[in-house]
């Protein structure tokens, strides 16, 4: 449905990634190796979106940049964006289906070239289906490092990956493990932190409601409100602190 064909459910036969060209020696984590999405379907949408983000950023001066996958992208479509994040002068560079290595490629290839946001909100990892929790953490940390290199003054707020699926399943465990690993990895960094934005989507019987995650992965407007109110408050706090420095 969303984004990079390499993560769509029918395309395990089509799992093609240009790792040979971009892997440097010693790189053993595909989740941390910048990789563009290959246009298998034939309409070039991923590259169109990337190009749009690069050119859009040329005349904008965002204080906040949201970057990540469909959870970021869809946020931009609902009222909650206009209510809470437009007033913070936020830009949205979410692409559905993106894995860590795709976000890494996009940020390495122009999406940070023309802007200096004070805070980068990073939300990615749930679509990294062929990677372990350790690899996904490595991918997220590679993005955190890249942002530090390109935007030395920016603060990176990594959002915890949400639980998914109607009932308990291995992906919930994997996502929880990713969050734990990332939290440990950023704990020593002054320029980054992990924020858990799960307001308690998993009920006492282990189920997730379609009222919060309409397909047990993507957020409904109601789900976004529950996630974004505390996120907004946290962001405002960060921006005020950045202004003081």
């Amino acid at each position: 449905m969303f984004g990079c064909p390499a993560t769509s459910r029918t395309s395990h036969q089509h799992h093609i990634e240009k790792t040979d060209k971009v892997m440097s020696s010693g790189d053993s984590n595909p989740a941390a190796t910048p990789t563009p999405c290959v246009d298998i379907q034939g309409d070039g949408r991923w590259m169109s979106l990337h190009n749009h983000f690069v050119s859009n950023s040329k005349d904008k001066e965002p204080d906040v940049l949201f970057v990540g996958d469909s959870l970021v992208q869809l946020l931009h479509q609902f009222e909650v964006w206009r209510e809470l994040f437009s007033p913070l002068h936020a830009l949205n560079f979410g692409v559905g289906g993106d894995e860590t290595q795709h976000v890494l490629w996009r940020l390495s290839n122009g999406e940070l070239a023309h802007i200096s946001p004070k805070v980068v909100v990073l939300w990615v990892g749930t679509h990294n289906h062929s990677h372990t929790a350790e690899q996904i953490c490595g991918g997220i940390m590679a993005i955190v490092q890249l942002i530090k290199d390109k935007l030395p003054k920016a603060y990176t707020l990594v959002l915890g990956v949400l639980p998914r699926g109607k009932m308990p399943n291995p992906l919930r465990e994997r996502n929880a493990q990713v969050n734990k690993l990332v939290k440990d990895a950023v704990s020593s960094l002054p320029h980054a932190s992990l924020l858990n934005v799960d307001p308690g989507f998993v009920h006492s019987d282990g189920s997730i409601s379609h009222q919060d995650l309409y397909d047990f992965l993507h957020l409904t407007p109601q789900g976004y409100q529950a996630v974004c109110q505390p996120l907004h408050a946290h962001l405002k706090g960060l921006l005020e602190k950045q202004a003081e420095n």
Binding site: M1, F2, G3, S8, R9, T10, H12, I40, Q41, G42, D43, G44, R45, S48, L49, H52, Q73, H76, Q77, F78, E79, V95, G96, H129, R164, G165, K166, M167, N169, P170, L171, R172, H210, Y214, D215, F216, L217, H218, T220, P221
Partner: protein, 229 residues
């Protein structure tokens, strides 16, 4: 058009749980349960184009009041929709109108096969729900610039335009007008990723659709007269 065994797009097929969280089956199960509780007048069935519509205000404004159910699942092909309809999603309901919107994800199939798959869905609906009128929505253009998928979707629509009238109680509705601009581009204002519609994009397609739905639900004068005889 005949020989559905030869058309892979007309073969019912469930989605395999490759990712590991079984979301497709969970969604299907929820829809089957909804059929037990609800009495929809309108049923929407299809892929993410259908599913996403329910997340925007426009659903509550225009379609909920018509007692509409939404059985869209992102990523679905004609094969997946056929499977769902054959496995419980039509049980115990008798909607007056069924809106079908699927086909853009059928990447393995030719335009003719995709149209054949959509036709098979319409045929299944009219045979399982004799009182329903089927509205098949045309596939939208996609991609920022002209590309083979746009041509394919146009071809699918062309086949549907000529085949669907031969089925009783079925009509084709093209809601794609205006999305491709004179410079041949599609704007992110209408399709945020050059495939999925924004709120504004859904508003544009809702107009002709709601007009047709109301027309069908309220019945034409001819139908009203005939029902009195």
């Amino acid at each position: 058009m005949s020989g559905d065994e030869m058309n892979p797009a007309a073969v019912a097929q469930a989605v395999e749980d490759i990712q590991g969280d079984d979301r497709w089956m969970s969604q299907h199960t929820r829809f089957v349960q909804e059929c037990k509780d609800a009495e929809p007048e309108v049923l929407f069935i299809g892929d993410s184009m259908v599913q996403l519509m329910q997340q925007y205000e426009i659903w509550r404004e225009l379609f909920s009041p018509l007692h509409a159910l939404n059985f869209g699942i992102g990523g679905d092909t004609t094969c997946n929709v056929l499977w769902r309809l054959q496995n419980g999603e039509l049980d115990n309901i008798g909607p007056k109108v069924t809106v079908v919107w699927v086909g853009t994800n059928n990447h393995e199939h030719s335009a003719e096969q995709v149209a054949g798959g959509i036709l098979a869905i319409a045929q299944l609906l009219t045979s399982r729900l004799p009182k329903t009128k089927v509205v098949v929505l045309g596939l939208l253009a996609r991609g920022e610039w002209p590309n083979p998928l746009r041509e394919k979707n146009v071809a699918v629509n062309s086949f549907l335009r000529s085949w669907l009238p031969r089925l009783g109680h079925t009509q084709f509705l093209d809601v794609g007008a205006g999305f491709v601009h004179s410079d041949e581009t599609i704007s992110t204002r209408d399709m945020f990723d050059f495939l999925h519609l924004t709120a504004a994009g859904y508003r544009a397609i809702a107009k002709p659709l709601i007009d047709l739905l109301l027309q069908i639900l309220e019945g034409t004068p001819e139908e009203k007269r005939a029902s009195l005889v």
